[in-house]
Symmetry: C2
Subunit: 319 residues, 2 copies
């Protein structure tokens, strides 16, 4: 298993305790309130009609009329996309989420990791996470569209784009060379539900649908996803709340003399001088964070949810 | 989309009404009672520890110590298995569930449909559904083990084997040429939850785990699956109840002069002389059943659940 945030078991095993605040992921800790669910979503196979309603809600939320497929999390999309064409030469803009490279290599692709958008040009398949995880680096849609014309296929992972519709290429995904991924669980705070979307050309979505097979998404995920994606008032209020929380977290970090590297509305990346020391300092107060194998200074934090979580974080940073 | 049971929308569109009894699948209509779920199963990514507990419960329920992987339904297993090796020549014992052939062909396999176990010998990959859907035909484990030694890989789909542990090869799945699929949702009546398992050799399960990627199963499915698979008293009572219900359904069918073709504890297949007429007769009482494109006489019925469902079926058959 590759290195990930979110596995609180690891923190518990290392530091003890059970009352952990998990800030090791970019998952919203004030989740969409769970609606009550009809029994049928558990007992029956999801119907075409229910799935169609979900896709309509997702298209509206992502402001796109492109062909779209629902899968069991953005990760499921990452597993499928390498199989859209025969393995060749892929390039990925790094540092970024490690599962893209892993899934491509596992499917037989030769993958080069590059650090500029220009260096992606000419690849048979290029991957850009926009905005990027963990550093929040973002790219203008027009730059990515230009890039799309210069690669075999451009995969844009918009897992952290919910608060930045201005960055999204979802509305352009029907054009042949572009595939756009969206995560449901991060912004809506329901990562355990496993729901994500792929938008792309008719041909790509048809091929991915065939690979995913029938019923790739659970009935509860379809029902909750449809309700949540249709609730634009909640989404707008959440974006506003997250922006305020980001400013608050950056302020706390500044007091601790951590320097902001970048981030999104769901996580912040700080240069802490010593990631190990900073992680242990917070872990002693049972707050879990994310380090990266390629940096001994960077620490990534998701945003606390409830007031008590903020209090504990503030206290930990003052230790 | 291929022809399936379970899409009650189709029945509603054709015959009207909303109060349908869906007997078009082999899903238990008296499901495992849903336990209350901690919020974390929705909000957090599933932990390794939670998944490990699920796999332990599944291994115990399936009486196997073989390497095992949880996926989002037996269908997800059917999508992955064709990618375990380079496409070559597959054979499948038919008639059977149509998704095996579809997934294999889609992945580039040449698939021959055969009608005897002996005709599977020599295939690079052979598929047997045991007991079989829709006709309930079953094969002794020792016959399948003999077959396994004479094919490149033998896939045994045990989606309907919960009530027949005597038929299961799950305990032998660690040997190299055998891959065993199990469905959770059918016997436990929770098909919308999407949970299934693959048992096989270390090498095959490692490769399938890599293909499935992290977090293929939802948090609610892990929690409910662990509770249900650990509850052997419920399983034993359910097998006893299903056996009595099978006798009752066969009795009703006999009164309607339908002839039993075969079946399992979760569905029965009848020769009705005219499947179209029989299906419409029940559909007029809003009971949905399954026809097959390759037979104009066969009708498959799942078992009714609540007493009112039995009453309506009995009345419909007397029309």
């Amino acid at each position: 298993m590759r290195d990930h945030g979110g596995d609180i078991d690891t923190a518990q095993a290392r530091f003890g305790g059970t009352d952990w605040i998990d800030l090791s992921t970019g998952i919203n800790r004030a989740p969409y309130p769970l609606p009550s669910l009809p029994t049928e979503v558990w007992t029956a196979l999801p119907t075409y009609a229910a799935t169609a309603r979900l896709l309509t809600a997702a298209g509206a939320a992502y402001q796109s009329q492109a062909p779209i497929l629902a899968v069991a999390g953005a990760q499921a999309a990452i597993q499928l996309i390498p199989k859209l064409s025969a393995p060749a030469r892929a390039r990925i803009l790094t540092p970024t989420y490690n599962e893209h490279v892993a899934a491509l290599r596992s499917a037989g692709w030769q993958v080069d990791e590059v650090t500029t958008l220009a260096a992606l040009e000419g690849a048979d398949l290029a991957v850009v996470v926009n905005p990027n995880n963990p550093d929040g680096r973002s790219h203008a849609p027009e730059d990515l569209l230009r890039l799309a014309a210069r690669v075999g296929r451009l995969v844009v992972d918009e897992s952290f784009a919910d608060a930045r519709p201005d960055l999204s290429l979802a509305s352009k995904a029907a054009q042949g060379r572009l595939v756009v991924l969206r995560s449901f669980g991060k912004f809506y705070g329901l990562a355990g539900m496993r729901l994500g979307f792929i938008l792309g050309s008719d041909a790509d979505i048809a091929a991915l649908t065939e690979m995913a097979g029938p019923w790739p998404v659970s009935g509860p995920a379809i029902a909750i996803g449809t309700a949540a994606l249709s609730d634009r008032a909640w989404a707008e209020a959440t974006v506003a709340r997250l922006r305020a929380d980001v400013a608050r977290l950056d302020g706390l970090a500044q007091s601790a003399r951590w320097k902001l590297v970048g981030g999104t509305e769901l996580f912040r990346l700080y240069d802490t001088q010593s990631a190990t020391a900073a992680q242990e300092k917070l872990a002693r107060r049972q707050i879990w964070t994310r380090m990266f194998p390629y940096s001994d200074r960077w620490l990534r934090l998701g945003l606390p949810g409830q007031p008590a979580e903020w209090d504990r974080l503030a206290a930990a940073l003052q230790d």
